[in-house]
């Protein structure tokens, strides 16, 4: 089922169980095999119990697309996802550093920039997260009212916040 309107993946990071079934779903869909480090959604866990998925939020201004020196990155008009032209990509890593959340990565296989493409509007990671009732990832309509870039934060920053929400002042000793 394809969404009629562009979608966005809403996230409730502190609910994440760390099951990583999103990584399995994503890599099976995109790579045809289980490949956690090639999954477009990657679960980080710098502190045990503080697991969370890390994936593209489709910023309004798309700094990764802007940063690409060879125009290998573009925005899909229908889904608003970032699409990588793997032929054009030179593996320079400019998109990785341009992203405020360091979400894109160079594929561990071919070294090309790799970014969530929203599965064309019907994301696999969300399906399993919903079916399993973890409800960390959810598809919503993409509207102009959200500051999507707020969600493009580096895993270290996310961890620092979550660890305090979960463990209070003790959290600071755990990082």
């Amino acid at each position: 089922m394809l969404a009629e309107e562009p979608i966005w993946i809403m996230r409730e990071l502190q609910r994440c169980s760390g099951c990583r079934m999103c990584e399995i779903a994503c890599s099976l869909h995109h790579e045809g095999r289980i490949w956690p480090e090639a999954s477009r959604v990657r679960v980080f866990m710098f502190v045990p119990g503080v697991d969370f998925p890390h994936l593209c939020t489709q910023c309004h201004d798309y700094p990764c697309v802007e940063a690409c020196p060879v125009e290998a990155l573009s925005v899909d008009e229908e889904t608003s996802a970032v699409i990588v032209d793997r032929e054009k990509c030179t593996s320079c890593g400019a998109c990785v550093t341009a992203c405020p959340g360091r979400v894109p990565f160079l594929h561990p296989g071919d070294g090309k920039a790799t970014i969530c493409d929203l599965c064309g509007g019907d994301p696999e990671c969300v399906k399993i997260c919903q079916e399993g009732n973890w409800d960390v990832l959810r598809v919503v309509e993409r509207t102009e009212e959200h500051s999507y870039k707020l969600y493009a934060r580096r895993p270290g920053e996310v961890t620092e916040q979550l660890v305090k929400i979960l463990f209070g002042e003790r959290g600071e000793e755990l990082i």
Binding site: Q14, R15, S17, G18, C19, R20, M21, E23, I24, S27, L28, E31, G32, R33, I34, W35, P36, E37, A38, R42, V43, F44, M45, F46, V47, P48, G49, D51, H54, G93, V96, T97, G101, R102, V103, F105, L106, P108, G109, G111, I128, E131, G132, N133, W134, R154, P155, L166, F167, G168, R170, E173, L174, I175
Partner: protein, 618 residues
């Protein structure tokens, strides 16, 4: 060959060398991985002189093995093994986490660790590369500091070696705590907050090798399956089945604190003097209300996520953290010590894990000490303080003495069986009747007297892993929780709680391409592994040799009637044990003493085991 990375790393900590080794397709086809393959590796390397091998000497081998189903089947685990410091046999001891996935994605199905490092080290496994690195800066550190320091160090190394390519995910870690470093036999190989491969006492084995931790980061895909399309479907089918198991997801195994303790009357209370407690006293709902900060927690590929993140926010135990307590630790760090408060239980669990203990093993020996104190056999003079049931601070103090091997703690650090023998000699009385053990293992928190729990009278006496409640001998060999089924889970290597008998054979075939059926497993493969495990268990040594039949018994305590609860008066009968034990021995191809029969060993292609057993018993 499919489903395998194809290579293993053999690491000699004495010389500092690591080399890649391979096993033939035939070997893997017969033993799969994990517990099965560990049995083969250990038998081949140490079998000839098994009884002389010191489990804590450099000659012993630590195996860290995944299996072909690891990462494919729901809830991947790692199987830790070696000559067990507790049972002196081979114990397949599994632990959840991403380590086994990272290892397979790095191109390895397992590590075979030999020798002993001169000073503390850790092993770093990355893509087709194995390194031995200095660990003196984390030696002596608890789980929190070990995790914090090694995570940062690992992330730094990954970025340094391949800068600017990505935000690096943390390496997965297996580690031991201070008690493991001091070779206490009641210690686990650990990960995260409260994950542990506890049975076997392999924390001590790592400690004896000066091995503090193993770090894994694999960037490749999981090794390809024989038929990729089939697992793709099966993964979701199994997940959907597991999603329906709501009690396990909702409450985790912690719901058994009510089910087992109050309803079934088979939970250890005050060193098993009772197995029942009032239903309202320790229900999992109180954990949810008071200490859970995450309702679902799990590890790679687990649809069940039965773990619960627990944290004490207020009171004297503020700051205690556990990613459980699961039922076992509710019992062994709670009811078995007369402790019935969730906050106290999370604290006990937190300290156990900080120090590197197996919660079951240390909880068993703490309960044993508690009963000796109750009976006036251990005194305030022996301990330096009073040790009354329910005194959380006192049990915490004793636990720290065990970790430090201070005073009486040095004796208790050897585990309940050995402590009972030694303290008995010191006091001039028989204390083994207070030891709730089987083959050196403190028994899991499931009793048999009420006859209502899943374990049977033969479960612990006949198990080749002794008191291991995750590997119980059952009269029906093909039961979902029988030792032979657990052996499949431990060799696969995946989580027993996700086992679905309707799917597992399809899964195994789809991943490996081998036409392994239930009949092939239960009639041949499992019996082969079982026979070797039984053989080495009977050889034991060097400090203890288990006597066939005589040591294939239940604890003395279980011949005493249950004193309280709705099933009070129920008791184990020795006639029942003898009858069931004889039948079990017969069914698995062992003689009346439980020694694998020559004809059976030859049928299984284990001529060398047959010869060794013959010379051992003559």
């Amino acid at each position: 060959m499919r489903g395998y990375a194809g290579k293993f790393s053999e690491i000699d900590l004495s010389s500092g060398d690591a080399k890649d080794v391979r096993f033939s397709e035939e070997t893997l086809r017969l033993y799969l991985g994990g517990r099965g393959l560990a049995t083969k590796i250990l038998w081949d390397a140490l079998g000839k002189r098994w009884e002389a091998v010191d489990p804590l000497g450099p000659e012993n081998i630590l195996t860290v093995l995944a299996g072909p189903l690891t990462g494919y089947y729901a809830g991947g685990r790692m199987c830790i093994s070696g000559k067990s410091p507790l049972t002196l046999g081979i114990v397949g001891s599994t632990i959840a986490g991403e380590h086994s996935i990272d290892m397979r994605c790095a191109g390895y199905d397992g590590l075979i660790v030999k020798g002993r490092a001169e000073k503390p080290v850790y092993i770093l496994v990355t893509d087709s590369r194995v390194e031995i690195r200095d660990a003196s800066h984390v030696w002596g550190k608890d789980r929190i500091d070990t995790y914090r320091i090694l995570t940062k160090e690992g992330l730094g190394l990954l970025e340094e070696r391949s800068p600017g390519t990505r935000e690096w995910k943390e390496p997965s870690i297996l580690h031991i705590g201070p008690a493991g470093e001091r070779m206490s036999r009641v210690t686990a190989v650990q990960t995260k907050w409260t994950h542990g491969a506890g049975y076997g006492g392999y924390g001590a084995l790592m400690g004896s090798k000066n091995l503090k931790a193993v770090l894994f980061k694999g960037m490749g895909p999981l090794p390809d399956a024989w038929d990729m399309e089939r697992p793709r479907e099966l993964i979701w089918e199994v997940a959907r089945k597991r999603f329906k198991s709501d009690s396990m997801r909702r409450w985790g195994t912690g719901s058994l604190g009510y089910d087992v303790g109050a309803r079934l009357s088979s939970e250890p209370v005050r060193n098993w003097q009772e197995e029942w407690h009032d239903e309202k006293s320790f229900g999992v709902d109180r954990f949810e209300e008071r200490v859970w900060i995450k309702r679902y927690m799990g590890d790679f590929g687990c649809p069940t996520t039965c773990l619960k993140l627990a944290f004490v926010r207020t009171g004297p135990y503020k700051g205690a953290i556990s990613d459980n307590p699961d039922y076992e630790i509710q019992a062994y760090g709670g009811t078995n010590l007369g402790i019935f408060q969730p906050e106290d239980n999370v604290h006990i669990c937190s300290v156990m894990e900080d120090l590197g203990f197996c919660g079951i093993q240390v909880g068993n020996v703490l309960g044993f000490a508690g009963e000796l104190y109750q009976r006036g056999i251990l005194t305030k003079e022996d301990l330096g303080f009073e040790l009354n049931w329910g005194d959380t601070a006192a049990f915490t103090r004793l636990m720290r003495m065990i970790a430090d091997r201070e005073g009486i703690g040095d004796v208790l650090a050897e585990g309940t069986h050995r402590a009972a023998v030694k303290l008995g000699q010191m006091k001039g009385v028989d204390l083994t009747k207070y030891a709730i053990v089987a083959k050196g293992h403190g028994i899991g928190a499931h009793g048999i007297r009420s006859r209502l729990d899943y374990v049977e009278v033969v479960s612990y006496p006949c198990s080749v892993q002794g008191g291991d409640h995750t590997s119980p001998a059952q009269r029906d060999l093909r039961k979902g929780d029988s030792e032979l089924t657990c052996m499949l889970q431990d060799s696969g290597v995946y989580c027993m709680f996700n086992h679905e008998s309707d799917y597992i054979w399809d899964f195994l075939q789809a991943v490996t391409g081998w036409p392994i059926t239930a009949d092939e497993w239960y009639d041949n493969m499992a019996l082969r592994i079982l026979a070797i495990q039984r053989a080495v268990l009977l050889m034991g040594g060097p400090d203890i040799t288990w006597k066939p039949v005589e040591d294939d018994d239940i604890p003395t305590r279980w011949y005493e009637p249950l004193p309280t609860g709705p099933y009070n008066g129920r008791v184990a009968e020795s006639e029942e044990l003898v009858e069931d034990r004889n039948k079990y021995f017969e069914d698995v191809g062992w003689d009346s003493r439980g020694i694998p029969k020559s004809s059976e060993l030859r049928r299984l292609g284990l001529g060398d085991v047959e010869r060794k057993l013959k010379s051992f018993f003559n």
